[in-house]
């Protein structure tokens, strides 16, 4: 199946710019596959999405490889997102309208590919091997008055 890999054409500018250090951001979604069936009536939504909005979407996201695959009769319409961390997310879009398919595509684009875990109590995650700028408070080091020693 011939397809256009974004990096191979020189006209598109990739969205990911190399930045030295940890501030470099790499688009987590590497490849997005649209699997569809040409005739199934339950897959009108994905077919109309592929026909029109997908073209603009692919233009706006030059560093994601978009692949459209026509499957055999009777296969489910599926979006498959492959991420740089090696994981993938697969969403069935049977019986979904075109805008619902668009929402699912946005979900894949906004995700980092990490496993879903509870973030309720993870408001602030310290950087690996980082330490607080102010150090750790210690009663022994809490010097209150000049020359009067430490108050515990």
């Amino acid at each position: 199946m011939p397809r256009l890999i974004p990096s191979s054409s020189s006209s598109v500018i990739p969205k990911t710019h190399p930045v030295p250090g940890y501030q470099h951001f790499l688009t987590p979604l590497r490849k997005l596959i649209f699997d569809y069936d040409a005739e199934s009536p339950s897959q009108n939504g994905i077919r109309s999405f592929i026909r029109k909005p997908l073209i603009n979407l692919a233009r706006e996201n030059p560093d994601v490889e978009f692949v459209v695959r026509r499957l055999k009769r009777g296969k489910a319409a599926v979006l498959r997102g492959h991420y740089v961390n090696g994981r993938d997310k697969v969403i069935c879009v049977n019986k979904l309208e075109s805008d619902a398919v668009s929402n699912k595509v946005q979900l894949l684009l906004n995700s980092s590919g990490a496993k879903i875990k509870s973030l309720k109590n993870l408001t602030l995650e310290a950087a690996p091997a980082s330490e607080s700028a102010r150090g750790i408070w210690s009663a022994l080091h809490d010097q209150t008055r000049d020359g009067k020693g430490y108050r515990i």
């Binding site: 980092s112 602030l124 995650e125 950087a127 700028a133 010097q143």
Partner: protein, 222 residues
């Protein structure tokens, strides 16, 4: 008085591990004799004299510990901060974001309920309300960074009228990178009333935005 000294050593053992009590205590110098007659605080100080110094040697060498003088101008304050830290290490900001205060260090990952409008991953957002920026020993602090202001005592009207003065963006800048918009796992809550035929399941997925804190840049000191 060795017995007293040993007792105070026991009292300190919860915070600082000491050698087993069988080891003899170091020979006490002139200070210890003074300590035996004066307050118990200096006695315990003498007892732990054989331990590594608590304060850094540079501070301990000067016998009279004096607090550093507050700098007179912003640029000299910035110089103090820069003497101890770099934009990516040893620096922190206290920032206000959606009516909450966060203490942020570079490279931290901050998770918030979905920020709307949803920006695509890779977008950078800059913090506009930075209340404090500091290094290990120094900080540039706005009056709004005082913890007393954020105590629960304020009612909603006072909170609404409260003007939090932030450090101007010319002095300190910090950007957050949007990493992803994700969701919690599905939560199912069962609701049931006895004998009323009422039973339903409430399902919920909370959306979150994950942000990475970038470098903390200070204005160039003249």
């Amino acid at each position: 008085m060795p017995a007293f000294a040993r007792l105070s050593v026991r009292g300190l053992q919860t915070t600082a591990p000491l050698p087993p009590p069988t080891t003899p205590l170091p020979p006490s110098d002139g200070q210890a004799s003074v300590a035996s007659t004066s307050s118990s605080a200096s006695a315990s100080a003498a007892a732990i004299a054989h331990l590594p110094p608590i304060v850094p040697s540079s501070v301990a060498s000067s016998s009279s510990f004096s607090l550093p003088v507050a700098p007179s101008s912003t640029s000299s304050a910035i110089q103090h901060l820069e003497s101890q830290s770099t934009p990516s290490a040893g620096r922190y900001v206290l920032a206000r974001l959606h009516a909450r205060t966060y203490l942020l260090h570079p490279r931290d990952i901050l998770t918030l309920p979905t920020l709307k409008p949803m920006q695509p991953p890779g977008t950078t957002l800059s913090l506009t309300k930075i209340l404090e920026v500091g290094s290990r020993d120094y900080a540039i602090r706005s009056p709004a960074a005082s913890p007393n202001l954020h105590k629960r005592g304020l009612d909603w009207k006072e909170k609404k009228l409260l003007k939090l003065e932030s450090i101007p963006s010319e002095i300190v800048r910090c950007e957050l990178t949007v990493l992803e918009h994700t969701k919690d796992p599905l939560i199912k809550v069962d609701k049931k009333k006895r004998r009323k035929g009422y039973k339903k399941t409430i399902q919920h997925k909370q959306g979150y935005t994950r942000l990475r804190v970038g470098d903390i840049h200070l204005a160039q000191a003249e």
